[in-house]
Symmetry: C4
Amino acid sequence: MLRTLVRLFLSGAALAIACSGAAAQTAGDDDAQRKADLVTAYRILVNEGILDSFGHVSVRSSKDPNIFFMPRAMPPALVALDDLMELRVADSQPVDPKGRRVNGERYIHGEIYKARPDVMAVIHAHSQAVIPLSLTAIRMKPVIAQAGFLPPETPTFDTRAVRKPGDRGMQVTDSARGAALARSLASYPVALMRGHGEVVVGSSVKQAVVYAAYVDINARMQMQALLLSRDIVTLDAPELFTPEEFDINRPWEHLKQKMLDDAARAKVDRAQFGLDQTQAKR
Amino acid sequence: MLRTLVRLFLSGAALAIACSGAAAQTAGDDDAQRKADLVTAYRILVNEGILDSFGHVSVRSSKDPNIFFMPRAMPPALVALDDLMELRVADSQPVDPKGRRVNGERYIHGEIYKARPDVMAVIHAHSQAVIPLSLTAIRMKPVIAQAGFLPPETPTFDTRAVRKPGDRGMQVTDSARGAALARSLASYPVALMRGHGEVVVGSSVKQAVVYAAYVDINARMQMQALLLSRDIVTLDAPELFTPEEFDINRPWEHLKQKMLDDAARAKVDRAQFGLDQTQAKR
Amino acid sequence: MLRTLVRLFLSGAALAIACSGAAAQTAGDDDAQRKADLVTAYRILVNEGILDSFGHVSVRSSKDPNIFFMPRAMPPALVALDDLMELRVADSQPVDPKGRRVNGERYIHGEIYKARPDVMAVIHAHSQAVIPLSLTAIRMKPVIAQAGFLPPETPTFDTRAVRKPGDRGMQVTDSARGAALARSLASYPVALMRGHGEVVVGSSVKQAVVYAAYVDINARMQMQALLLSRDIVTLDAPELFTPEEFDINRPWEHLKQKMLDDAARAKVDRAQFGLDQTQAKR
Amino acid sequence: MLRTLVRLFLSGAALAIACSGAAAQTAGDDDAQRKADLVTAYRILVNEGILDSFGHVSVRSSKDPNIFFMPRAMPPALVALDDLMELRVADSQPVDPKGRRVNGERYIHGEIYKARPDVMAVIHAHSQAVIPLSLTAIRMKPVIAQAGFLPPETPTFDTRAVRKPGDRGMQVTDSARGAALARSLASYPVALMRGHGEVVVGSSVKQAVVYAAYVDINARMQMQALLLSRDIVTLDAPELFTPEEFDINRPWEHLKQKMLDDAARAKVDRAQFGLDQTQAKR
């Protein structure tokens, strides 16, 4: 029993060290920091219900713009630093797979990095907050004060638009579909994907995460308002904002705090049952 | 106090052993594994809110296709291995009741196994995600990428269609109603039941559980989209998939992980209060 | 620290004893059992979100049909055995207040017990699941299999119907309003109250609690279906059931189990912070 | 490990002392009590989901009506007593910033205190329960018994109404916008803010918090009812109430109890991970 207790608190101590380590590096923006933010992003987005069984997040290397980091094919809830693989922007292929299975939809990320030099992070999620809108001819429009980063109309990408005879499925599993999605996204931070979810991009992992969280809220607010009235007020030009006009650190800290509280509970429970990450992943 | 603490951690250890034991057998598909998956299925479906006070899951024997396993009449949240009974496909009657009360709606399972040799697992749930649709003339259609296993229109079964004079209730408590439900289900993986819930079947417990989870999400997405517009996009033929095109292991692992986290919390609490399964079941 | 730990587990042990004590008396139906069920009912209904800051539950005495038990005016989440007061059916006044503040809406209970000798338990709740329906001319109708105890149309009571010049408020704070509500309820198990909530009555505390839980689900299912289509299927005569046709023990056990799991978490937390019920109530 | 355990329980003990200390002062209404209520208000409103990454609460000084207290710019979930700053009603500027960053929307508070001598507390929140209504021409009306404090129609403020050429954004970041919002609020306890949220004011922190909680419930009930029917019943004159007719202590205690239970869980977790408030705030 004592061993279990010791283990429980040691694992807590280890995480605390990991977290304070991450904190110490916040000022920098090297690849170590980008990867740490990527892991945090996974935890936040799972905790917010934006990532579920599927979905993935990537970050471009700070040292080489032709490289991006993305986890192997695995459940989002379990992503850790050593699951990250290095992929090439040019063809979305791994530099060295080391025997690990690469994600089938990595072309979403590679083709967006190729088309958008300004983008440093890409999120693809199956968010249930945006899917209903994506099934209709209605376009997502900015309606809440914090969604001023959205374009007047967010595009909805549909794989059918580029489907060739014999093509199957709705997933973005080759460069052609990835490039088509990147064209839909254009210079925007968000594109919905019909019946599937969304992509959200940012100049940093933090920005993409905060944008993804507000995309969800904006979509729900717009949908609920549309049920009440077809005549709703959307943001106009002076209400849209540039990245410099919106401090993402506050919502990032808020989202991280919520995640840490919730994750702590789950970890303690897992430890008490003798389950650790390795077993869970088997 | 020490005894309580010891008990708390011993029960945790026991579950950990049970879980790793189950893991060791994953490769196989014998009856021990099928029964273990059945118990896990109950926990996942309760955790997802798909099973509540009622609902049941069964699995066909790997040794004898004329036999299936199903728990005695009891709250789904408490089902354990030793609650499973052996029933005959021929008449939905127990091989040997051993004094235990058999489930009143076992005919759902028996008649589907009789009509569908391909089916190895049957779920009947009272899911609140599908009931509203089942009350209308609208049919569930596949709208999300992961619901490509659905037929273009999911049938809604209504006991009234086979009700004889003097018949009462909406439950499927005899072979005639079970056979009628199986006819509605036809060769599909899902049928809704008007005002009642759904049946979901699969070639394995895992497949049926994953399908049931996506039935819920698909129904909610379709309903929300229909409130926005009567003209919504549903999956077309090249977007529907065969079982081989959809890896159920990822969502199964995701759902199990969520369940283990949540269950751990509840168990620890229960143990601290001196309540164990036996007492809870009284 | 050890003292805190000891206290934590002792309080757990005390509850376990209380619970097993309650279990031992389940067979009987004396006032001790009725009061124990009443306290359990409060915990279940708070846990289900049916009771919030307000709302109350009462039970008629098994020894004297002219007496009922109901807690003093207090937050529902904190009700314990020694908060129960004895009130007269005749005038809804306490037999002996012992300095405790009596509930302002006790007339709901007194007048229903007076009009309905078959009723042994009364629940008044401000359930957010039924309030939207109560604001419209739409009547709640049974749509789910487990709501076969509902009448074809559930009445919605409105205090305005009996409001006299100078009367204020919507609460049932005198015998006249209580009697009017009892007349609306007629021989039914449920009446909605416009903009306010509902009353649910039963032949036992357990029955009233299970009915209240299904009233919530039925209302949500009916409302969601009505948004999809104005033409929905409701239960017909052979689908309505008598109390003998519906085993309430299964849902009662399910609801209690959920409550015990959740309550355990909260109590442990509270104990760890040195807060106990007495302090919380101040 | 022992140190961690000791720390865990010491922090629990400290909170218990803080809470009982607060309790001892309940009778009074000095600045110490007002500030303690303000911190409690933050915790309750975060716990209810009314405050998220943004939003703020203030209280007027009991000693000097020209001064109000409000936290520095920070995530609402982390506000503690020593984060409170002293601001002037006259110009919404801090008496002595002590190097801390002041909140950008403090003009909401200052201008309302200036226009409304009766107001002792101001809440500004981005509540997702009211935003959909605020996007339409529909006005919030009182529909539930506990919302009798609302005017027959709650105003919706829109910054556009006072926007000057070159003005950007929707935030209330100067005295002119603050004064315009105060004019919209008029003598009411609530005003919605288009696409943004709401302000709720009260004669005490407790009253404003309880009102804010019922604003949320009322908005959700009204919206859900409007989806069912455009013809809904709203409270009429004899159903609206004065502050004296509504005991806010019961809902305040209920909300605080819920918050303490939930907060306890999170704190224990945080402590076990070696994270304390200071680290979290970095």
